[in-house]
């Protein structure tokens, strides 16, 4: 099964290449730096939130409230800026609010022992509500160009969007933490068998709490990026993004039951969805096809390996009989 999963990551990376080639065949403009730059910038918020969601799902938890934290933090940033708080301080306070929101989720899960699915359905409503309480249906849009450039500008001298550069750095850090530290390995242990992990002396509650705070911080960062990229703070920013984040993580081969998955797979899945999106857009294929393709890929990512394993098992069974 482990080999199968690694095989799935290779498959996803292969599909990314195929999608790029198909895009190039569809339109000569597709593989241009500016187009790739545009289409990757388009999913930078989802990409950021995928990183911490991957870690959470590996320990068999989930955070459905990320898109609401994004919206709440976007609204907060707008309110602070409108109140003439200096921007660096406003950003810090916004990140702090995201961390607190994550801490609240984490405390409900680890101290009260509530299922994270139920908790974060509740905070999904709560944090979105707080976003509306902060900003109502107003929008704050007069952000200084120095900051909005961070949202849709590119790294000087390259065509790499700044949010994607930020994402790349964080992705490398997350991958190192997950795959090269004792903390990272402990996530797999907890996800695979929480009771055994506890007996092995792992501080399960503390690890989970850290991950929920991390998820809140990352959603806040995505909120800052979103606000600058669209140069608009609104309470409804990012509504519904949570399902896109979870879809990308699962498509990347992370098991919903925990204990299995990698940052590489999840990141490759984000790019796959983003590139297919871009390729379909450039040839004017309507967006609904992307919705269908995302759904089919998601189902296929689990169904195909399952069916292959069953076919293989049946063949082996027949050989044994014959």
């Amino acid at each position: 099964m482990r080999r199968l999963r690694l095989g799935w990551e290779a498959t996803i990376l292969g599909l990314v290449v195929v999608a790029l080639l198909v895009g190039a065949l569809l339109s000569p403009d597709f593989l241009t730096a500016s187009n790739l730059s545009f289409l990757t910038a388009n999913f930078s918020e989802i990409a950021l939130m995928v990183l911490t969601m991957t870690l959470l799902i590996i320990v068999a938890e989930i955070d459905l409230s990320v898109a609401s934290i994004l919206g709440m933090c976007s609204a907060l940033l707008g309110v602070l800026w409108a109140a003439r708080v200096p921007m660096p301080l406003a950003i810090l306070l916004t990140l702090g609010a995201g961390g607190l929101a994550g801490l609240f989720n984490g405390l409900l899960v680890t101290r009260l022992g509530l299922p994270s699915l139920a908790v974060t359905i509740g905070t999904l409503a709560l944090y979105r509500g707080l976003a509306y309480a902060l900003l109502g249906d107003r929008a704050v849009a007069d952000f200084p160009p120095a900051y909005t450039n961070l949202g849709f500008g590119t790294v000087p001298g390259t065509m790499i969007p700044i949010p994607i550069a930020l994402f790349a750095v964080l992705a490398v850090i997350t991958a190192l933490v997950l795959h090269a530290t004792a903390f990272g390995r402990s996530l797999y242990a907890i996800g695979a068998n929480e009771v055994a992990a506890r007996f092995a002396g792992l501080r399960v509650e503390r690890v989970k709490l850290i991950l929920f705070v991390g998820s809140g911080l990352m959603a806040a960062l995505a909120g800052v990026v979103y606000t600058f990229r669209f140069s608009s703070a609104r309470a409804d920013n990012g509504v519904g993004l949570e399902l896109g984040v979870i879809a990308a993580v699962l498509l990347g081969g992370v098991s919903i039951f925990g204990g299995r998955g990698s940052v590489v797979g999840a990141v490759a899945a984000v790019f796959l969805i983003g590139i297919i999106n871009g390729a379909l857009t450039i040839v004017d294929v309507p967006g609904e096809i992307l919705t269908i393709v995302t759904g089919l890929l998601l189902i296929g990512s689990v169904l195909v390996p399952n069916l292959l394993a069953r076919v293989r098992a049946r063949r082996r069974g027949r050989e044994a009989v014959g």
């Binding site: 509530l114 359905i121 879809a247 169904l303």
Partner: protein, 356 residues
């Protein structure tokens, strides 16, 4: 041999009296909470209990109240159906299109059409989960996208308006019998039917068995695969019916109809005491959960809570309900365990309904 073990062991601890059992039931606590909120709000603003506002409230709750029945069936088996919102959108739009194509279509045929279409979509979920061994969260998140994408493709910018719908259908949506709206009566009938089925029939009890302990269910001779498929077909069929009711209630449907309903439905079920860990919960509880969320929402409007604070308050109350429920049920489980040890060891295996 069997006569020697006798009825004493099978009976376990003496059953508590009917009053104790009613008082301990989760539905009772919820109903009490419902009553308190209703009376409290009515005390501040008597119009809350006016005929018109109660009618609106019940109509608003009816779609969620119907969906929560199917979701309960699926949740009992420790699965989940996230695709219900997309099923509602697709069936609502296609039923509307059917009315445009066949203007004189009788209402029962429309209901049957939605039911069958939803059941067909449920078969897809059921096959993926039961036979493809795809975890329900992944499978139904996938079909949530696929069904919604199909809806967008079919709708392609258009929408169904009340002017496209026959008067008989709109009349069904707004009509009532003895002052109770038709939609509410239909939803109540389905709730009662499923409540009885899940509580008292072998097939219904099997859903609890599958969710409580799948291995034990297999050993008990339950065809878990088929039961799972049936559960998703039921959830899909009910969502299809809900789509038709959605059309009847709102008259106007575009490609986004029903978006986001899935989380409200799961929230209602969880508040109503259906455990996402499987095996625990009743349709009555889930229905009261849906009603409670609806009443809280409309009470906030009646009490003139600032519009922008309402969602936050609802979220906080939802969290409170979940937390209190878990703490109370854990206490109850502990107490039952202690009592069980006192009387007979067999009773110690009470289902706790703890975290998933």
């Amino acid at each position: 041999m069997t006569s020697q073990t006798g009825p004493d062991v099978l009976a376990g601890p003496p059953r508590p009296g009917i009053l104790t059992r009613v008082l301990r039931a989760r539905e009772f606590t919820l109903a009490l909470l419902l009553l308190l909120i209703t009376l409290g709000t009515a005390a501040v603003n008597p119009r809350f209990l006016g005929v018109g506002s109660v009618r609106d409230l019940l109509l608003n709750v009816s779609v969620i109240g119907l969906l929560v029945v199917g979701q309960t069936v699926v949740l009992l088996m420790r699965h989940v159906d996230l695709s219900v919102s997309s099923v509602v959108g697709l069936t609502a739009f296609l039923t509307g299109s059917l009315f445009i194509a066949v203007p004189g279509l009788p209402v029962p045929v429309a209901l049957l059409f939605g039911l069958l279409l939803g059941a067909g979509l449920g078969v897809v979920n059921g096959l993926l989960v039961a036979y493809g061994r795809v975890p329900a969260l992944v499978a139904t998140l996938g079909t949530l996208y696929v069904f919604r994408g199909v809806t967008y493709a079919v709708v392609s910018g258009g929408q169904v308006n009340a002017s496209n719908l026959p008067a008989a259908f709109l009349g069904f949506g707004t009509g009532s019998v003895l002052g109770i709206p038709n939609l509410v009566l239909l939803v109540l009938a389905i709730m009662v039917a499923f409540g009885v089925y899940l509580g008292s029939y072998r097939g219904g009890r099997e859903y609890y068995a599958v969710g409580s302990n799948t291995d034990a269910a297999v050993l008990a001779g339950i065809d878990v695969t088929r039961r799972t498929l049936t559960g998703f077909v039921i959830s899909g069929a009910i969502a299809g019916l809900a789509g038709v009711l959605y059309l009847a209630r709102y008259g106007t449907v575009d490609a986004t109809a029903g978006t986001g309903l899935e989380l409200q439905v799961i929230a209602a079920a969880v508040v109503g005491g259906v455990s996402i860990g499987g095996g625990v919960g009743t349709v009555a509880g889930a229905g009261i959960g849906a009603l409670l969320l609806g009443v809280i929402g409309s009470a906030l409007v009646t009490l003139r809570a600032p519009a922008f604070y309402q969602q936050a308050i609802q979220g906080a109350l939802l969290l409170l309900a979940i937390s209190v429920d878990i703490i109370v049920s854990r206490r109850t489980a502990q107490r039952l365990q202690i009592e069980g040890q006192h009387h007979t060891p067999q009773a110690g295996t009470t289902q706790t309904g703890g975290p998933a």
